[in-house]
Symmetry: C2
Subunit: 83 residues, 2 copies
């Protein structure tokens, strides 16, 4: 086995100011269930993946994956942690 | 205004052993882009919401929201942080 296994945890969230219809729908569903004090519900994606690369190379790859595939950087922000 | 604003950050992820077709699709797409060392891609949801409640009450509410609406506890795990 070449390289060490690196675990990446990636959050992809809508940028501030971008409308979140899924979040609004959940907010209304929560209100229907009686949770009327829930506000500003925002929904994003959370991804985990393993990479068989040294940590510095893994970081560059995860950044590139986010830019190219995992996030739509026009409307979404992303952040990641490696461990 | 009654209560203090509490921010909840909620992760909903598929339980271990549950098949993740969306993760598999992303894994294949990453391989197509040349990221062939990415493995075990798992996709979950990440939610943020504000609650106008004292922290202890907010915690009970977030737990109940997860159980009733946000997670399907048959196949999904959830965890949350309050701040």
């Amino acid at each position: 086995m070449r390289g060490k296994r690196v675990k990446a945890k990636i959050h992809v969230t809508l940028k501030q100011g971008i409308l979140d219809p899924q979040g609004k729908a959940i907010e209304q569903a929560l209100a229907t269930l009686g949770y009327t004090s829930a506000r500003n519900v925002r929904v994003g994606k959370y991804l985990e993946l393993d990479l068989n690369e040294p940590k510095d190379k893994a970081e560059a790859q995860v950044k590139a994956m986010c830019e190219k595939l995992l996030a739509n950087t026009i409307i979404e922000d992303y952040r990641y942690e490696l461990s």
